[in-house]
C-alpha cells in the first residue's frame, strides 16, 4: 500500500495546489506536499532496503534499482522545490503561468516520473514515460515567450515521435515474449520477462529488433546524439528549476527504462548487441556534445550539452557492463544530477541578476557575485570530473572498467573528450568569472532558499567525492544486483 502513497500525494497535491490563488500560500503548500512526498519515498526506499522488493498488484513494484532512482528523484525534487520557492518570486500571475500552475504541473511531472520508477509493467512504463513528456511540455513553455513556445513545441513533437518508437519496441518485445510461450497477461511484467528471457533466446533477432526501437525511442528522451536535438532548447528555455528537473531527474528516468530493457535483452540475446549499441550511442553523445560545448554562447545551453555528454558517459558505463562499469554508471547518474542541478541553480541566479545568459555579455562575476561564482566554480570543477568531487570517482570507475575490459578505443575517446570538455568549461567559466565586471547584478547576495540548496548540493558533491557513505554504496550494490 505504501507504494501508492507517493503517487496519491503527488496527484492530489497537483490538484490541491491549484486551489491556492495566493502565490505565497501556494508555495508553502507546495513545500509541505513536497515534504510529504519525499518522506513517503524515503520510507519506500528504506523498506526495500530492509525487506527487498515490494509489489502491489500487477502493475506497481519497487526493487533495488527503482529505489535507487527514487532516491535520486526525492533528493533532487527536494532541492528544486526549495529553490523554486525563492525563484518564483519573479513571475507574476498569468494564465497557466502562475506559481500555483507551476507547482501543479511540477507535481504532475513528479507523479509521472515516480510512477515510471514504480511501474512493474513495460507498457505502463511506456505510458508514464510519455506522461512525463506531456506533463513537462507545458512547464518547458512556461514563460510563453517566443523561445519558450518554440522549445516546448519541439520538445513535445520530438519526444512524442521518439517515444512512439519505444512503444513499437515494447510491442515487439511483447510479441517475442508471447512467442516464447509466456502468458500474454504477464508478458510485459518485466520480472517475469527477466525469468523468461533465456527462453526468448531461441529467436534473438526479434529481441534485438525490440531493443533497437527502444533505444531509439527512450534514447530520444535520454538525449543520445543524434536524437538530442530537443534537449538544449528545452533546458535553455524552461524555468531554471525545471531545467534542473529535466536534466537531473527526467534523463535518469529514461536511462532507467533503458537499463531495464538492457538487462532483459542481455539475458535473452546475449550482452554483446545491446552493449555495443549503448557504447556507440555513448561515444557519439560524448564526442558531439563535448565538441558543441566549446562553441556555446548561452550558459544554460552549455549545461544542457554537458548533460548530453554525461548521459553518454553513463551509457558507456552501462555498455561496458561488469561490476566497475555498472557501479560507475549508477553512481554517475546520481553525481551528475547533483552537480548539474547545482550548476542550473547558479545559472538561474545569473539570469535573474543579469537578465541574460549570453556568456559574452557577462564577465567579472567573481567580484560582483562571489557566492554564485563559488557555486559555479564548484559545480564546474565537479562536472568536468576533477577531484575531490564525486564525478571524478564515478568517471574513474567507468574508465577503470573500460581499461580492465581492454576497450581501448572507448577509453581513449573518453579521455580525450574529457580534456576537450574541460577546455570548454575552463574557457567559458574563466571568461564569466574574471575580468572587469560587465554589469552590476540586481542583488549580489543570495537568499536563504538559494544558498541552502546550493550549499547542500556542493557539500554532497564533496562528500561523495571523498567517501561514498556506506548505506549509499549498499543501495548501489542492491541496484546492481537487480540488473545482473
Amino acid at each position: 500500500m505504501i507504494l501508492l502513497m507517493p503517487l496519491l500525494i503527488a496527484l492530489l497535491g497537483a490538484f490541491g495546489v491549484l486551489g491556492f490563488r495566493n502565490p505565497r500560500v501556494a508555495t508553502r503548500a507546495a513545500l509541505l506536499i513536497g515534504g510529504l512526498e519525499i518522506t513517503s519515498l524515503v520510507v519506500i526506499v528504506w523498506q526495500v532496503h530492509e525487506r527487498g522488493a515490494l509489489q502491489v498488484g500487477r502493475y506497481l513494484r519497487v526493487d533495488g534499482l527503482s529505489s535507487f532512482f527514487l532516491i535520486n528523484i526525492a533528493f533532487i525534487s527536494g532541492l528544486v522545490l526549495v529553490y523554486a520557492s525563492g525563484y518564483l518570486r519573479h513571475i507574476g500571475e498569468r494564465r497557466f503561468s502562475s506559481p500555483r500552475w507551476f507547482y501543479a504541473l511540477v507535481f504532475l511531472f513528479l507523479f509521472t516520473m515516480i510512477s515510471v520508477c514504480l511501474s512493474a509493467n513495460l507498457g505502463l512504463l511506456w505510458i508514464m514515460m510519455e506522461g512525463t513528456t506531456l506533463a513537462s511540455a507545458l512547464l518547458v513553455g512556461f514563460y510563453n515567450t517566443e523561445g519558450a513556445v518554440e522549445a516546448g513545441w519541439k520538445y513535445l513533437m520530438v519526444c512524442t515521435v521518439g517515444i512512439a518508437f519505444a512503444l513499437f519496441g515494447t510491442i515487439v518485445l511483447y510479441l517475442a515474449a508471447v512467442k516464447a510461450g509466456m502468458n500474454p497477461v504477464a508478458a510485459l511484467d518485466w520480472v517475469s520477462l527477466m525469468d523468461a528471457a533465456p527462453r526468448m533466446g531461441f529467436d534473438p533477432h526479434l529481441v534485438k529488433l525490440a531493443f533497437v526501437f527502444v533505444i531509439v525511442g527512450y534514447g530520444t528522451k535520454i538525449g543520445f546524439v543524434p536524437m538530442h536535438s530537443w534537449l538544449p532548447d528545452a533546458h535553455a528555455e524552461a524555468p531554471t528549476p525545471i531545467s534542473a528537473l529535466l536534466s537531473a531527474v527526467l534523463l535518469n528516468c529514461a536511462m532507467y527504462a533503458v537499463m531495464r530493457y538492457d538487462a532483459i535483452v542481455s539475458r535473452a540475446a546475449g550482452p554483446v548487441f545491446p552493449h555495443t549499441l549503448l557504447l556507440i550511442f555513448g561515444v557519439m553523445s560524448m564526442v558531439v556534445a563535448g565538441l558543441l560545448i566549446l562553441v556555446q554562447r548561452n550558459l544554460k545551453r552549455l549545461m544542457a550539452y554537458s548533460s548530453v555528454e554525461h548521459m553518454g558517459i553513463i551509457a558507456i558505463g552501462l555498455g561496458l557492463g561488469g561490476p566497475l562499469g555498472l557501479f560507475g554508471a549508477l553512481l554517475h547518474t546520481f553525481n551528475h544530477s547533483v552537480a548539474k542541478s547545482l550548476l542550473f541553480f547558479s545559472a538561474g541566479n545569473v539570469r535573474h541578476n543579469f537578465g541574460t545568459l549570453r556568456m559574452d555579455k557577462i564577465s567579472g562575476m567573481a567580484r560582483t557575485m562571489p557566492q554564485t561564482s563559488a557555486a559555479l566554480v564548484v559545480g564546474g570543477l565537479a562536472i568536468v570530473g576533477l577531484p575531490p568531487f564525486s564525478l571524478f570517482t564515478s568517471e574513474f570507475a567507468i574508465l577503470s572498467g573500460a581499461f580492465t575490459q581492454a576497450h581501448y578505443f572507448v577509453a581513449t575517446v573518453f579521455l580525450i573528450t574529457l580534456s576537450v570538455v574541460f577546455g570548454g568549461f575552463a574557457y567559458h567559466f574563466l571568461r564569466l568569472l574574471t575580468g572587469e565586471p560587465s554589469r552590476t547584478p540586481v542583488s549580489s547576495k543570495l537568499i536563504p532558499s538559494e544558498y541552502s540548496v546550493m550549499g547542500i548540493a556542493a557539500l554532497c558533491l564533496i562528500i561523495f567525492g571523498t567517501r561514498i557513505p556506506h548505506l549509499f554504496s549498499v543501495l548501489v550494490q542492491e541496484a546492481m544486483a537487480v540488473l545482473r
Binding site: 505510458i127 513556445v149 513545441w153 513535445l156 512524442t160 512512439a164 513499437f168 545551453r301
Partner: protein, 220 residues
Amino acid sequence: MGLVEIATGKVLSSFSVFLFLTILLLVVARRISTSVLLFSVQSAIIAAEVFATGFRERLAEAYVVGALILVIKVVAIPRAFFSLVHHLKTSHDVNASTTPTQSVFIAATMIYLAYAAVHSYGQSVHVPEDALAAAVALILTGAFLMVSRNKALMQMLGLLVLENGIFLAALTTTFGMPLVIEIGVFFDILIGLLLMGIFTFRIRDTFDHLDVSKLRRLRG
C-alpha cells in the same frame, strides 16, 4: 460459413489495399481538412480490421479496443481537428515542401520498402505479410508527413498516422496488448493532442503563423 465470416475474411484480406490507397491520397492532399478526413477513413479501416480480428480470434477485448478507435480516432480527433482549424483561422493549405508528384513517388517507394522490410523480417514474425507491410508503410508515411509538411497541424496528423501504423503493427503481430495498456496508450494520445492543440494556439499567438519550419530561433 455465415455471411459474417465471409465479410471478415474479405476485410482481413483486402484492408491493406485500402490503407495503401489512403496513404497515396494523404501524401497528395493539399488541404488540411482533406488529410484529416483521410485520416479518419484510415482509422475506420483499422477499426474494421480490429473487429474482424476480434471476431475471428474470439477476443472480447478486441471489441472494446475497436470501439475506442471508432470513438476517438474516427470521430473525436477529426472533429477536434476541424474545430482547431476553424478557431486558428489559418489557411487550409498544408504547405507541403514537396510537389504532389514527388510525394507520390516517395510514398510508392516507402510502400515498396515496407514490403522489403517485412519480407526480410517476415520469417521471424509469422503474420500476413501485407498487413505488416501496411503498418510499416503507415509508420513511414507518418514520418514523411511530419518531415515534409510545414504546418504544425499536419505534423500532428503525421504523428497520428505514425501512431496508427504502430497500432496496426501491434494488432497484426500480437492481436493487441493487454487492455489496460491499450487504454493507457489512447489516453496518452488524447492528452498529447490536447497539448499540441494548446501549443498550436500559442504558436499562432506568438508568431502569428503556424509554419514550424520558420521556428528556428533556437539553434546551435
